[in-house]
């Protein structure tokens, strides 16, 4: 699935972008995308995701570097011949057309006959559960409804490449899951290539073949979801993806990928060395909350155990998020499944928690 720069369907090579000639918004982007791939861009607000999509779609020009689409430098191909469907972050529905006309537009410009058009529009509207709204104007729709129309419009003409800029951001969970399913389904059945921007990590992890984590105008890591989550390359990625308990310390021993870290309160723990190079280096030990146990019977053999004081229990429906003080840090989080027999923890309670040393990862200090 992963493409090399020669046979890639989309490729960014050393792409830079600046809006004002002063600061680089995209710094050195290298990215290859195979045909049929589902790639998600994930990154903090303002990290350049939209800018990348805009360059790919041809609405912004890279200040440096080259973008290729299907082997051709993108500059040669006018936007309407790229066959790129796009969902804009602000929807960009045509205000002077009804919903139906908005959807028919890409079909019309492709010279499709009226009856075929109508069928396709109807199908697309049904897909986003907006069948009854064909005659409304965009201004008469709610935010989520507008977003659904924008999505339907980008897909209705079966583009080979679809760029989606937070296409489900304004939808509720139920609908979002439905739409995720529809998008995945289209992706698989039609073999379209998707570049997807989302803020929803769950969405990124479940839908994508690969995820590109952006920060500061660079790709920090580009990997399949599980790898990203399990083996983040650096502490930015570790911190950005999923929840994370971070304990600062100093490397005391380094032995291949095994390290012993001295935490700030003097306690020593074992950890997997990821991004650390030398003894004495400062490090952040990262432990995923779901890898921490507190019921004595569940703490596996060989686990590292440590004292903790419960500070707060937050109700999250399926999960009880428990914040506690560990090794002097009061942002240590543990997640308990909200089962009927769950032992309720309460603030002030002192417990002993444990984790498998393999799950503790010593990362670079950012």
């Amino acid at each position: 699935m992963v493409a090399s720069s020669d046979n890639a369907f989309v490729s960014f090579e050393h792409v830079q972008k600046s809006y004002d000639g002063e600061t680089l918004v995209v710094k050195d982007l290298n990215l290859q995308l195979a045909k049929g791939e589902f790639l998600t861009m994930l990154g903090p607000s303002g990290s350049g995701k939209t800018t990348c999509l805009m360059m790919l779609a041809g609405f912004e020009t890279a200040t440096h570097g080259e973008i290729r689409l299907d082997g051709q430098p993108i500059n040669q191909v006018p936007p309407h011949k790229r066959g790129i469907g796009m969902v804009f972050q602000n929807y960009a529905l045509f205000p002077h057309m009804t919903v139906g006309e908005n959807l028919a537009f890409p079909l019309e410009v492709r010279g499709m006959g009226k009856s075929e058009r109508e069928t396709k529009v109807k199908r697309a509207l049904d897909m986003v559960q907006m069948g009854a709204f064909a005659n409304r104007r965009p201004a008469q729709l709610s935010g989520g409804q507008q977003q659904r129309i924008a999505l339907a419009r980008a897909l209705v003409f079966d583009p080979k490449l679809v760029l989606m800029d937070e296409p489900l951001g304004a939808l509720d969970k139920q609908l979002r899951e439905h739409m995720q399913f529809e998008i995945k389904h289209l992706h698989e059945s039609l073999g379209i290539t998707v570049v997807y921007v989302t803020h929803d990590q769950g969405e990124a992890l479940t839908m994508s073949d690969r995820v590109a984590v952006f920060n500061d105008g660079r790709i920090q890591q580009l990997a399949p979801p599980a790898e990203l989550y399990e083996r983040p390359d650096n502490s930015f990625v570790a911190g950005f993806i999923g929840e994370n308990n971070k304990l600062p310390g100093v490397i005391e021993e380094l032995n291949g990928d095994r390290a012993v870290v001295c935490l700030e309160n003097g306690e020593r723990i074992h950890a997997t060395a990821v991004n650390v190079r030398a003894k004495g280096e400062k490090t952040l030990v990262s432990i995923r909350p779901e890898r921490v146990e507190f019921k004595p019977e569940l703490i596996p053999e060989g686990s590292h155990t440590i004292d903790a004081e419960v500070l707060e229990v937050i109700y999250m429906g399926d999960i009880l998020r428990t914040r506690m003080k560990v090794a002097g840090h009061d942002e240590f989080v543990l997640k308990c499944r909200n089962t009927i027999d769950q032992v309720p923890l309460s603030p002030g309670q002192r417990i002993r928690i444990g984790w498998n040393p393999l799950d503790a990862r010593a990362l670079d200090m950012i």
């Binding site: 041809g58 309407h80 045509f94 965009p138």
Partner: protein, 415 residues
């Protein structure tokens, strides 16, 4: 749908539509109060004066106020009665009154509008009114045979009431024959209707040209960075500051046979000295000069609308597969409609009303309907001018209504 709707009610049983109307009443009032000051201003400073003026197209007391005796006779005798001695006696008495009040001219003028050449009949007769003796019929016919012309009597009967449609009759190129029937005037007197149509056609042509020229310029100005756009904007505004009279004159300098353009063409050898092009004192001249004068009225509204069209729509269209042309036609153009509407409205209406420029550069057939209004105004024929002005007004309002029907004033408001 509306059947169902009419049955829909709110919780306490009121029809939903009514509830909606009540809920919106406040908003309506608020909107209306914003408009009220201007409406009051226009009504007082403009509508009332103009209404009074236009009323003159159906109201002219030039004759009626000095003919009490004749009025009585007309009331007593139905239309078609051949004037008898009593009628002439009434006429003689009224002529005397005219002489005393120095109103013979007014009365004659009023009748003269309908039956040409009859003004002096009144002034002449009024001068001699004091010497008239019975039998009045003979005495008056002695002054002028025209006193037995049935057209004069018909005209006097009609004019004895100040309210009249006579001026519209004339404006429609009609007149009353001896039997009082409406007939078309002689071919060589027909003018208003033809000119009316022509005026609207010329205005439409000018509007179309302005739109074609203004659109690219406004687009350029709207897409250029503000700094450059403002510089170029000076080029649009400069002509605007310059007196209409000066600009019109300037076009004469440019376009006439020995003018700048022809001379340059001759100097360049493009045309021969005897092949100078006639670009002025004809329809072409009118159109060129008026397009120039009205162009800013098209550019500026277009510009102010285009400036705020977000680029994301064009982008979206391109991403959906539209060529730049389709994007322009289907996405950009429709969003400029408010600007086009405003510009077209301005230019067309102004073009319909212009008369100075056509008069100066238009040549024989260069005059427009407003020139006729002007013509009658300078002759102090308020009623005729008012009738023609009303026609112009009605014509524009009908077009406005059509425009609203076909395109919709509401297209001025998207969504």
């Amino acid at each position: 749908m509306s059947d169902v709707a009419s049955q829909l009610t709110t919780a306490d049983g009121r029809p939903l539509k009514a509830a909606l109307a009540t809920a919106q009443a406040r908003a309506k009032r608020r909107a209306f109060f914003l408009v009220l000051p201007l409406l009051a201003f226009i009504v007082i400073t403009f509508a009332v004066p103009i209404g009074q003026m236009l009323q003159r197209s159906v109201y002219n007391d030039g004759f009626s106020q000095t003919v009490p005796a004749l009025t009585q006779w007309f009331e007593a005798n139905p239309k078609g009665t051949v004037p008898d001695e009593a009628a002439y006696a009434a006429l003689a008495s009224d002529l005397n009154l005219m002489k005393e009040t120095r109103m013979a001219g007014d009365a004659g003028t009023r009748i003269n509008y309908v039956v040409s050449g009859m003004r002096s009949l009144f002034t002449k007769s009024a001068r001699k009114a004091a010497d008239l003796e019975p039998p009045y019929m003979a005495a008056l016919l002695d002054i002028d045979e025209d006193w037995q012309d049935p057209r004069v009597w018909n005209a006097m009967r009609t004019a004895s009431s100040p309210w009249t449609l006579d001026f519209y009759t004339i404006a429609f190129d009609r007149e009353r024959d001896a039997d009082g029937k409406l007939v078309k005037v002689d071919e060589n007197q027909r003018i208003y209707f033809k000119l009316y149509i022509k005026t609207f056609v010329v205005a439409a042509v000018i509007t179309a040209i302005c739109l074609l020229l203004a659109f690219p310029v406004a687009h350029l100005l709207a897409t250029l960075p503000m700094a450059k756009a403002n510089l170029l904007m000076i080029l649009v505004l400069l002509p605007f500051w310059t007196s209409l009279l000066v600009r019109t004159t300037s076009w004469i300098v440019l376009l006439q046979g020995q003018g700048v353009i022809n001379s340059i063409l001759v100097a360049l050898g493009i045309i021969g000295d005897d092949g100078r092009i006639q670009m002025i004192y004809n329809q072409t001249g009118t159109i060129i000069a008026m397009v120039h004068i009205l162009l800013p009225f098209m550019v500026l509204p277009l510009y102010s609308v285009m400036r705020v069209i977000p680029p994301s729509y064009t982008r979206a269209a391109r991403s959906l597969g539209a060529t730049s042309w389709t994007t322009f036609r289907r996405i950009y153009l429709p969003q400029t409609i408010p600007g086009i509407g405003a510009g077209v409205l301005l230019v067309f209406i102004l073009a319909v009303g212009y008369y100075i420029t056509p008069a100066l550069v238009g040549g024989a057939d260069g005059q427009l309907f407003s020139n006729m209004v002007q013509f009658h105004m300078t002759k102090a024929n308020w009623s005729m001018a008012a009738a023609l002005a009303t026609m112009l007004l009605v014509g524009v309002l009908v077009l406005y209504w059509l425009y609203d029907r076909l395109i919709g004033i509401d297209k001025l408001k998207l969504g």
